[in-house]
Symmetry: C2
Subunit: 384 residues, 2 copies
């Protein structure tokens, strides 16, 4: 080993000594700006290991942390007052996070913002091995339309986003089937077309003729009875869907307004909600999708079909005759209680002889990459 | 003065002594959560004087400031580590702001976020005396649709938001005129339908039959020639509008594709840009709106019509015959150089005998309330 190299190694060792706990000697230095950064912002960055490097100027701060995936990583301040540091490798896909500056939990000013975890805040995209299926490509794109309406049941203004496929605005004689697609808890109607990339997934599927052109309606799963001021107000989401949203969509858009051309799906809380809505309204829908959730959540107990959802699964033959596609999906790394409750639900379906498709998303947890993959697998089965 | 009142005043004085610099003895204590807060967030708040009160937990911080309207207001920490404080009274309307935590400039986690001032960040709404014209009401609402497209001229994906009025999706035989409406510098295509409330302004105008139902296209005014990597890349926004956006909109939406049914308007930088586009393309548009801007910006000098915009204003009669409505608007509190440059432009129009409408927004500066009012005044004049 020559003298120059020895000196470099010693200096490097000294340099890293103060910070290696945060950075790690073995961090791969191929960081690139995250794909969901604000225009022109260089940080946060992601490397090929899935580590997140963030950076913020806070000259007078005494402690700055990156708060990601339930872990708070200390950042290190340089001579200019700029704090920087890296996380452990993250699983691929989309994650919410925030910065902690001397105890204040705030969005990272480097990213665009997403509604989830009960707040609008920062997100990071760890490039996934299969990211091509939700990539933005030069092919015909559908529209995502913000639709504001007044709901009498909740006595409030509500909003849904409506995806109409490429061609919808020009081919005025065509009518389309509709998928009603719901977000999870502490998320809202923006999730699916933002971090969920539902529009890009369908644009790609439709352009390659893998999915039937369809309308997708993404509404807000939180809907409470008007003037119910109790601590746990009564949810009227099912009534809002059946008596307000569907009639509005059928009047306003060129739908095919029958059960054969309506699907309903959701993720997590949305899977739970839409399963109940599906089973209570088999004359309204004929396709169901449950992504990372079932209506027995959070229980992993054996399901008593006599009482579960008012006995709606008692007659397996009837369910099979009514539901054209019964679809469940789950990430292989999902935490408790999801594998248990979905497993118990599947056992019930098996016992009842109810046909279903079960998809496992490899290596993903209770997160948006699981749900993007679920939509990608589920949508091609609809309206065929 | 009775003894009780004396004691109250003494106690009040002692109480306020530590904080009156920030709060002021005369602050009116009728603060309410801002209308653009995130769901369920109590702060920031606004009082009837237009003061902004913000609050954030930052137990280990040594200095937290509210950075609003070019002034940094020190907040005061309570025993629980929560910082709070108020701004001076702000003029009514919408303002961008941020928090400063020990030197870090970050969004306030209490608000929803808006793109402006070159970043996505916090905004505050000071209720305006005339807020009714942009209020969300129980009447038919149009859609705001996100439209993604690939631009060959810039070799990039671009996006516009398209407002289609109530009834557009149902009345399939109707065709509509189009207003192309542009944002200002350091803003983007989201501005007009978010902080600009263009959709609500038009919903209200159309419902009360004050404006002709129209489509509004809101695109991004930053468009640079493909592969131009120079420090000051060439803007090709005019070419993008004329050869990419308008043909796309006319193909995709039920427009009336002629000059009599096309208007173009913009605010600030967008006024400057759209004025050039208008004058270069009088066969494409017949209505112009310039909100807080003109193409001679920032100069207040007398305009030489022989050279200004290649002599496009030399023949006043020709301009009058081509432009059905030539509309200019400005806030009475706008800073230099806007009154000077708009004034010089008006003088040129007067000298050339060119007919125009000039509107002044009372008490507003170079801000969104000026532009909301401009749109409210301008839109009813179009396509009549």
């Amino acid at each position: 080993m020559n003298r120059f190299l020895t000196i470099v190694i010693i200096i490097s060792s000294l340099y890293f000594q103060t910070s290696w706990c945060q950075v790690g000697l073995l961090t791969v230095d191929d960081f690139k700006p995250s794909s969901v950064n604000q225009l022109g912002k260089q940080y946060p960055q992601v490397n090929s290991e899935g580590r997140v490097r963030t950076s913020i100027s806070a000259p007078q701060a005494t402690k700055v942390q990156l708060d990601l995936g339930g872990v708070k990583y200390d950042l290190v301040k340089d001579g200019n007052g700029v704090w920087q540091g890296e996380s452990d490798p993250q699983v691929e896909g989309f994650h919410y996070y925030q910065l902690n500056i001397d105890g204040a939990s705030v969005p990272d000013p480097g990213t665009i913002y997403f509604y989830g975890a009960g707040r609008s805040g920062s997100g990071i995209e760890i490039p996934a091995v299969d990211q091509d299926f939700y990539a933005l490509k030069d092919l015909p794109h559908g529209l995502v339309s913000e639709n504001i309406y007044f709901s009498k049941l909740t006595n409030s203004f509500r909003r849904c986003f409506v995806y109409t496929p490429a061609g919808y605005t020009e081919n005025l004689k065509n009518r389309y089937p509709v998928l009603y697609l719901q977000h999870g808890s502490f998320e809202d109607e923006t999730g699916w077309a933002s971090q969920g990339k539902a529009n890009l997934i369908l644009d790609n599927l439709i352009a390659s003729k893998k999915a039937t052109p369809m309308i997708i309606v993404m509404d807000n799963g939180y809907a409470y009875k008007a003037n119910d001021t109790s601590l746990r107000p009564e949810s009227v989401f099912e009534q809002v869907v059946i008596t307000e949203i569907i009639p509005m969509i059928d009047a306003q858009f060129r739908t095919i307004p029958n059960r054969e051309n309506r699907a309903i799906a959701g993720l997590s809380m949305g899977a739970n909600q839409t399963m109940r809505i599906m089973m209570n309204n088999l004359n309204t829908f004929s396709y169901y999708g449950g992504f990372s959730g079932t209506a027995n959540y959070p229980s992993a107990d054996v399901i008593d079909v006599a009482t579960f959802l008012d006995g709606k699964y008692k007659d397996g033959k009837e369910v099979n005759s009514k539901i054209k596609v019964f679809w469940l999906g789950l990430g292989t790394k999902e935490p408790t209680p999801f594998p248990g409750s979905v497993g118990a639900f599947k056992n019930m379906l098996d016992k009842q002889g109810i046909k279903y498709t079960f998809y496992e998303s490899p290596g993903t947890a209770h997160e948006w990459l699981t749900w993007r993959r679920c939509l990608y697998q589920y949508a091609p089965l609809l309206f065929k």
